[in-house]
Symmetry: C2
Subunit: 383 residues, 2 copies
């Protein structure tokens, strides 16, 4: 029987690559739902190709125009509610949450409540609501399968291992385009420079997060929840070649690493094929032609966002949601050239320091804190 | 209950490190048997420390002298029969076969017949008699736990994985002290130079085997049997830092690697603790201070022994036993300064080419071929 997939955020980088993987295994999968926001032309092409039973778009005002290009039998909804309804529908076995931002949180929770396995690519789910989501997933017996290359790597390194024998997780980071700059040089970097990632081709938001290393900070918080491990036992290491996607060090001194070429289709496929591995024709890693792998400590002076993430994680409660929302807002303003590159970390820090953290937050607390943090970031930037 | 261990070859490098590991976990292990050949003083100290119930030594003529220094209740035997009796004794749960050479083959087979798990450090067991030993182990439901760092690495990388999803095994090799020499320079290398291994501190025979890369050739044949994989799917890669101990590439393009500092106590401990991992105070790997890991293809012109091993493996039957025995004899003659370094490979090749290979050999065929190959190597060297 084919697994019935819903893809939230199907027109983004991960969404498109997910559909590319799915197309390679037509005997394994059936696409039953697609949801997207900004790129309706691409979504229309995807719908005509994959013929899902349900489609959801972001804005209500686009419904009539989009309805006109869809085959009649397809159910069309809109907004967060529409996406949540699609994710939780009876016809769905697994939901790929490749949508960016807090907007992915509610549909993901609804999918878990409905007992769907989650191929998790939405960072905010665990950053903002890690405790809530993981305990819900456990209660529902739902698998949370990481799509991120780093978490997929750790997930694979833990195959057949006992989690109580883990000494620490080592998350690798390329260090982005600026790891060899001086602090002064960072003040002048342009949006174009920040969008030049050395190894990975990704969306704009995550590419900027890689340049600030906030991306790694978010991944640290995700790893804390996904693998139920203390922050003190998570280490970030710069590995410019992005070949080792992450590692697990065990108490006996053995380190298990997962490697591969930087190609997101590999971890996407693993999340969908798990616990199996399927043969594919993606280019294979050739370590001899890579030649060498190198490792450095991340420089705290260059990457204050990494420290902020550890601090937000340690504070717990609504603080990670606030940090994440402030970061989203700050990155947006940087991309709009309204603030400079170092202002991203400064803004996040100021928003965090004026936040009254709520312990053991419910979903509403999280969403309210998220909204507050965005407003606060805008307010501080406009002063 | 403590696991009852017998160590064959307890005074060699692996044997001593095995006892060092065992001493760190007195609540886990009881040493019930020790066997050794050449270093009776060290053996006597080990016996007085670990108080095994059985001891076996190589030569009958040493029995009276050695008996005199042992506590009276200890059972003392000698020769291959004595070692085999010790390995198969009722009191033993697991046998560490850290003895070098074909002499370890019969006791290992007797131990498997008696249903003992094997922590395998004796290369000849699988090189000379892989098919025979593995089918016997399967029939007896006995675990063969690799001690070699490379095979331990692969064994660990396969934890929780499906062997049918393996694309290839990648055995790493330091390349030894001569990997950057020219072919001409190899003609003049001395015994002392060949004994300078860049990363590992090991016995003399295996250190020379590392310089010729015959060690890797033997490991390729062992890997073929341990992991039931075709020679065509085993790749050897030079990795001078000896940090990645080996890797497994899966059909989906993921590569899982096991790393650690070059310290044999880690794989020894794993063979004894498997499937658990136990905390220890061995120095831990710090990739940032290692700085970089590099990878090269082994040069066929410099390392003809590697090719000979693949050829012997492909020929099958008694050929790997003959290759191994010719190599042991050639290395011995090199250490005695009777032949030069490049003569090792030349001699092995000539012995192999004059061997009438026996298909599906029994143990007697293997031992007879082994003896023949040693004689033939001596005869050819003395001509």
């Amino acid at each position: 029987m084919r697994r019935r997939i819903a893809v939230l955020g199907s027109t983004g980088s991960i969404g498109c690559q997910t559909l590319e993987v799915v197309e390679r295994f037509p005997e394994k999968f059936e696409v039953v739902g697609l949801a997207a926001g900004s790129n309706l032309d691409r979504l229309a092409r995807q719908v005509l190709k994959h013929r899902p039973r349900m489609v959801s778009i972001a804005r209500k005002e686009d419904l009539p125009r989009f309805r006109a290009v869809l085959p009649g039998e397809i159910k069309l909804t809109c907004g967060i509610e529409g996406m949540a309804e699609l994710a939780a529908a009876d016809e769905v076995d697994i939901v790929v949450t490749s949508i960016t931002g807090t907007v992915g949180l509610i549909p993901t929770i609804e999918a878990i409540k409905a007992g769907k396995d989650i191929a998790l690519a939405n960072k905010e789910t665990l950053v903002a609501a890690g405790q809530l989501v993981m305990s819900l997933a456990e209660a529902k017996g739902v698998k949370i399968l990481p799509v991120d290359s780093e978490h997929s790597a750790i997930f694979q390194c833990l195959n057949g291992e006992n989690k109580s024998e883990v000494r620490r997780l080592i998350l690798t980071a390329s260090g982005g385009p600026f790891k060899n700059k001086s602090r002064e040089q960072l003040a002048d970097v342009t949006v174009e420079e920040a969008l030049q990632h050395p190894n990975w081709s990704m969306g704009r938001k995550i590419t900027i997060d890689s340049a600030t290393m906030m991306n790694k900070g978010l991944e640290v918080i995700e790893a804390r929840w996904l693998f139920n491990i203390k922050f003190a036992n998570i280490k970030v290491m710069i590995h410019p070649q992005s070949i080792i996607h992450s590692m697990v060090e065990f108490v006996d001194g053995s380190v298990i690493a997962q490697m591969g070429i930087p190609d997101m289709r590999i971890p996407i496929q693993y999340a969908l094929s798990y616990p199996e591995r399927w043969e594919n024709d993606f280019p294979k890693l050739d370590l001899v032609s890579v030649g060498k792998l190198s490792f450095e400590e991340p420089r705290a002076d260059l990457f204050p966002c990494l420290q902020l993430a550890f601090e937000a994680g340690a504070a717990g409660g609504t603080m990670p949601a606030v940090m994440n929302a402030a970061n989203e807002q700050a990155v947006e303003m940087f991309l709009e050239r309204r603030i400079g590159f170092p202002d991203i970390a400064d803004l996040i820090e100021r928003v965090m320091s004026s936040h009254d953290c709520i312990d053991k937050p419910g979903l509403e607390d999280i969403i309210r804190s998220d909204c507050w943090a965005r407003e606060e970031a805008r307010r501080l930037a406009n002063r």
